[in-house]
Structures are given as C-alpha cells and as structure tokens.
Symmetry: C2
Subunit: 450 residues, 2 copies
C-alpha cells in the first residue's frame, strides 16, 4: 500500500493536470478513513476540488466524519456555504451535531438555513441536550419492533429498511407508547423460528442510558457490559436513539486524550497537525499561570536568603527535593485520575486511596531520602545536611502523595473534571512545600550546619 | 441500584450465616461485570465460596474475565487447582491466554495438566504468538462460509451453531483452502433473498490483520474503519480467528493507561486497588533512577558554588527555570506520544513535528522569559539578572520542546515503546540543561550582576 505521503504526491500531480477523471479514480480506491493524512497536505483550492470529486461519489460526508475534528475548520474554509450544507445534510445526526459545532459562529446560521427543514429540526432537537451528553452522540436511525411482531415480520422490516440504516445488530422492542421493553440481537432473530414473537425472543430490561447522561459514563457502560450499542431513553423510558460502539470507541479515545492533555496542561485541540501559532495561543495562558506559581516558589526561597548565604550548598539539593516530590505527586495523580476515568475508584473508597498513596510516597520518601542524605553527607561532609535532606524528602513526598490523590478526588466530588489543572496545582504546591520545609528545617539547624 | 459497598456488606452477611441459597440468589441478580468491586472486599475463604456459587450458576468463568486482571492473583490463591482448571476450561481462547499469563509460574503446569486435552492444545498454539499480538487476542470460534453457500444455508448454519458462538455479526467467506475471500454482515444476509449465494453478497477483500500484528495496531484499524470485528489471517491469508470490538475496547483502554503510566514512570499493574507494599516495590527502582538524575543536576549546580556564593539570588530563580522547562518538555512529549498512539503522526513528518514543538516552546519561552526577566529586575533591582533569566528560559524551553518531541520519536524509530522512560529523560535533561545554562550565563556576566 502506498504511504499517505506518496498518495498525496500522486493526487496533487493529477489535480495539477486539470483532468479530474484520473484523480477521481484514485480517490475512489482510498477508504474514507485513509483520506485524513492526504487532506492535511492539500491547499485550499485542492481541497475544494477533492471534496467536489468525493461529493460526486457520494463520499464527501463519510470522508468528513473520518477526519480528525481539529482539521475541519480548514476544510470548511475551502467550501462554499451551499456545498457545505449539502455535505452536512448527508450526515447522520450524531456526526451532524459534531460537525456543526466546528462551524464558525458567523457562518453557522447561513449554512444551517440551507439544510432541508426536517434535518434542521432534528439538529435543533439534539442541540437541546448538554454538550458531550448521550443525546448528542446518539443516532436517531434505529429499528424498533413491537412485542407481537413475529421473527419473520421483523426480518421483513430489516429488508425494507435497506442499506440506509447504520449497522443494525440489535433490534429494540417497544410497547405501543414507545417504552423500551427489550432487545433482540439480530443473531437471535436469525436463529429463531419464523413464527416466534419478538416478545419471547427479547432480552428483557436491557441496559439503557438517559439522554442527559455524560458520554464518558455511556462509554464505561458499553465497555463494562461488552455491548455493541446502547439505547438512549427519555425520563419515561421511551427510546430516543441508539449509541453504537464505533462512537463509543471515539469517546474512549477522546476522553483518554483529554485526561493526558489535562495532566500536562494542554487543551484538546492542541494536536500535532495544527499550526504552531495556535498551539502557542492555547498553551500560553496556562504557562503564565504556572509561571505565577513558580514565582511564589521563588519568593519562598527568597525568604531564606540569609540561610542560603551562609550555606550555599543547600541550593544544590533544592532540585532533588522538588524533582522527587513532583514525581511522587504526579504518580499518585496519574493512578487516581485513571482510576476515576475507568470507574475503578469504586473498588476502593476515596479516603483509603489517599491513605494508600500517602503511605506509598512516605515509604519511597524514606528510602530515597536515606540514600540522598547519605550521598549529601559523603559529598558535603556534614551529617546534619544529610539529616535535613532525609527529613525533608520524607515529608515532601508524603505530602505529594496526599495532594496527588486528594486533588483529583476533591475536583471529582465538586463535579469538576478531575484532571483539569490537577498537574499544575499538585506539582507547584509540592515544590513550595518542599522548598519551605527544606530551607525552614535548614534554618532551624543552622548552627549545626555551619 | 445498590452501591458495590452495600452489595458487599449484604453478601458478606449472607455468607456468614452459612446458608448459601440466599447468597446464591443475590449473586444471580448481579451482572458479572458488576462483581469486580464486590470481589475486592472479600476474604480468601469468602472468595472461595463465592466462586463455588458462581460455578454452580455457570458464571464463574464470565465473572473472572470481567475482573481487572490485577485482581486475579488474589482469586487464584483462594481456589484449588482442580476448580481453577475447570473455570479456565470454560473460557474462550483469548480470555484463557490472558488468564493463564496471570497464573504463578509454579502452579501453571499443574493447573494446565488438568485441562481437557483439546483446550490445552489450543492454548499451546496461541502461546506461539508474541505477547500482545493479534494471535493472542483472537477468538477461534467464528463462522466461515463457502462462496457457493446460499443465504438460507448460511442462516441454517447460524441456527445450528446455537448460542455457543461469541457474538456473530460478520460471517467470513473462504475458499476450499480456507483463504479469506470476503465478509458478509449478518444484516445483509438477513436482508438478502434466501437463494442468493454468499459469494455475491460478500464484501470482497475485507480488512484483515496478521496473527503477529501488534494489538495496538489492530485496535487502530478497528477504530479507523469502524469495524465490529476483524479477521486474523496467517501468512497465506488463511483465516485463523477473529478479534471482536469488545476486546479492542479493552486494548484501547489498556494502551491509554499504559501510555499515561509510562509518562509518569509507573508500571501498569500499579492500580488503586493493589496493596501499598506492591506499589512501593514497583515504583522504587524508577524513583532511584530519577534520584540519580536529580543528583547529576545537583552536581551541576555545585560546579557553580562560587557564583552562587556571590549572588545567592540566582538560587531563587532556579525553580522557575526548571519548572517552566520541565512543563514545556512534558507538553511536547504528551502531544507527540499521543499522536504516535493514535496514528496521527502520519499527518505530519517527524522532523516537522520536532520543528513545530521547538518553535512553540521557543515563542512561549520568549514570552514567559520576558515576564520573568522583568519580574526579576523589579524584585532584585538588577537588569542583568533579568537578562540572564530571559535568555536562559528562552533557550531551556526551546531545548525542552526539541527533547519532548524527539525522544519519543527516536524511541519509536528504534522500535521501542515511545512513552517508556521518556518522562524521566526529558525532564531531567531539561533540568540539567536549564541549571547549567542559567548558572553558566550568570557566571559569564558575574561582573555585571555584582
């Protein structure tokens, strides 16, 4: 198979000749999911041409859903309102909602006005649900059957539905008022006798989620129960839509990226293929916050100017205290954040988790503190310097363990994202505590150190 | 719904009465996936009883597959060899392989000897594939059809297979030698006329993976093409097994945990519900490595003892340089590691990515360096101190950006896991560079600073 770079080169050459038929044939051979890397190397006029060619093949919409969302603005800019509306109209509801979110404010209403009326109504309905909720991720194309239908009638319904419906693997059984009663895996329908009723075949009380449920929660449910799809219901248990496993995989991947990014103080849009200018703009505010915290640490050290003047060697060990403390904090933070994300925290209570992280860090602090103390003694010849380093590292690392575990749990308890800002808070508080205790204890033992 | 804690309390009370029938009824009402948190709170004798009760309900095997793998040793210890072998024998191949990996060396052969012969042979076969490869994750229960079969004959095959087969949603079409020819989604089979041949209905040249392919690669393929399952083939394109999307979700979750953990220097087994003793044992070696690096940084600072003695204020700003540099490095590292994991790096070349991260960090270094320089000037009254800080931060952050981007790309190019050890290397090299350049430039400008 050609690499994306090779495909891109060939495609651009074909486009440059102006004869679109060969470019069209090349595009027809590429899976929509493989077009993303190719798109990222095209100029706006080339993107316009490629979208035109894909549109003729009725593949423009499916290609757009496969692009990383962060790439959409570029594509949108290359397209006129009308063509964009036509492409969007061909999307499934969940993809449509996502795509529209990426439309620049000022173009949104203009493009939406060009959508068919029923599409627009569906979209407006979905937009009533909170961002990142089940209501926004669900597709509204699903097959609901009545309990009294026979297996054969159900199969006939599937035949009628044709290719139009997104992968149907579960059929949902509802009563006359649309309440969800059960689910029939298509496999079971096929294996059953033609005259069996859906009410007999169905698995009763299937797992379902509310339309306002958070997408992360939905993903946890699908992963936990090994589902291929989960029905979305309203407060009265009426089925509204279905979330399929491919969307769940996207959610899981997104949420993992989000957690990793949040720990490092990055925003989710800050991706490898975005322009540098944008990354600077997104990272700068957070780095300025971090700078403020670092200056607090600097100010704390400044309070001990006299001590440092007398024993400059204390300055050598400051990075040891800060580095080891920061690491312990980040380790505790990572374990707890991940446990929250995977729903593992229920295996343990929050308090027990904090206690565990504290004792782990304390023990490691004692071990590495003892080594550090011994090294400091050997290097600088002062047993008291070794003692100060040992005590400080033990204390700082225990505090780091507590902070690393407690900060995300507290954020979670306050219904905040446990990863946002945790990294900056934990490492900077640990630094400040570490410097204050190291230099503070040093000052107390100043006579012995001299 | 009762919380896991409540369920645990009730279960333990019922077990304590010695009348197992009520405990059995309670267990029957809980989904296997919800038993994990309950298990973690039981004593070994209680675990033994619960597994007995689940075994009678034929649910012991499915429960075990739902437990976090890190919890298995505890359960294994509570069970006798014979019972354990019986439970393992009821697992699907992929789950069996995973479970056996968690068996302690010294018990493994004893337990395996108790397995039915054909199960053992299957297991031995799977173990020939490398760890974390497609061959180990695949299930060998799948339905393969011949091209000449009619839709009706295929449906009859599904009926015969009964409930035994794991979720069948795709049927694979092979020629007489077992070569993979195409795939028929069950939906299409149902919608088709009874006399259509599978060869006409199938989608030709379906996506497949080799048995030696890395599970992460398999997960990327399934996610990219929105598949529910992917066939595993040998070098001659003969179908060996199938990897289903629920296993892919596990792989995606595992790999995300692994990446996050690796960045923080944690091993994957270090989970919130594992004993503290074990976490200490796992984290300590890495923390000692980190300590060694921190002492190199301390030694570098020690080289500038004279300078620090004369201008102790330099020590105040060391955490600013180290903290900001470390952060820039971790940000670049996170963006690149994630891009590699998601296969996004192909949107950009490695060199371009390094260049981008360098320029982003350089610009942010200039901005935050200018602010820091100004603050240092205002605080300490020395414009030269401000200048030293500005220049150092600019340089250090640019270097951090290069290291953060280049280290994982280099590891990847050497076929190593791009996240293992990256964090410790990047932050410590950045620290050392930062201190050396800050104090080095300070020494060069010593006359101006005094």
């Amino acid at each position: 198979m050609a690499t994306p770079q090779e495909t891109l080169r060939i495609l651009r050459r074909l486009l440059a000749t102006g004869v679109s038929s060969r470019a069209e044939r090349l595009l027809a051979r590429i899976h929509p999911a493989d077009l993303g890397p190719v798109f990222s190397g095209l100029t706006p006029p080339e993107i316009r041409t490629v979208v035109e060619l894909l549109f003729r093949q009725r593949r423009a919409a499916s290609t757009l859903t496969e692009l990383p969302a962060e790439m959409l603005p570029m594509v949108f800019e290359a397209l006129g309102d009308e063509r964009l509306a036509q492409v969007i109209a061909r999307l499934e509801l969940d993809d449509m909602v996502e795509m529209v979110e990426w439309l620049p404010e000022e173009r949104r209403e203009r493009v939406l006005a060009l959508l068919p009326e029923y599409k627009l109504a569906e979209l407006r309905q979905a937009e009533l649900y909170p961002p990142a909720s089940a209501g926004r991720v669900m597709t509204t194309r699903f097959l609901a059957l009545h309990e009294d239908m026979t297996a054969q009638e159900a199969i006939d319904r599937i035949r009628e539905a044709g290719e139009d419906f997104e992968a149907i693997f579960y059929l949902y059984v509802t009563d006359e008022k649309g309440h969800l009663r059960g689910v029939v895996p298509i496999r079971r329908l096929v294996a059953a006798g033609a005259q069996r009723r859906c009410g007999e075949l169905m698995i009763e009380d299937p797992v379902s989620v509310g339309a306002h449920a958070d997408q992360e929660e939905v993903a946890q449910i699908v992963a936990r129960y090994n589902l291929l799809a989960v029905p979305v219901v309203d407060a009265d248990d009426r089925i509204l839509g279905v979330i399929t496993v491919d969307d769940v995989i996207d959610v899981i991947t997104e949420e993992a990226t989000e957690d990793m990014y949040n720990l490092a103080g990055l925003s989710e849009e800050d991706r490898v293929f975005r322009p540098a200018r944008e990354s600077v703009r997104r990272r700068l505010p957070w780095m300025l916050l971090n700078l403020a915290a670092a200056f607090v640490a600097a100010w704390v050290i400044g309070l001990f100017e006299r001590t440092l003047e007398q024993i400059v060697a204390l300055a050598f060990f400051m990075p040891v205290v800060a580095g080891m403390g920061g690491n312990s904090g980040i380790q505790a933070l990572t374990v707890i954040t991940r446990a929250i994300a995977l729903g593992e925290i229920e295996f343990s209570s929050g308090l027990r988790a904090v206690g565990k992280e504290m004792s782990v860090s304390l023990v490691i602090g004692m071990a590495t503190g003892a080594v550090s103390g011994a090294l400091a003694y050997l290097w600088q010849g002062s047993p008291y310097l070794g003692l100060v380093l040992f005590v400080t590292m033990m204390l700082t690392m225990a505090v780091a363990g507590i902070l690393g575990a407690a900060v995300p749990l507290l954020l979670k308890a306050m219904n905040q994202d446990p990863a946002v800002g945790s990294g900056v808070v934990v490492t900077n508080l640990t630094d400040i505590f570490g410097f204050a205790s190291f230099l503070g204890i040093g000052t107390l033992l100043l006579d012995r150190l001299l």
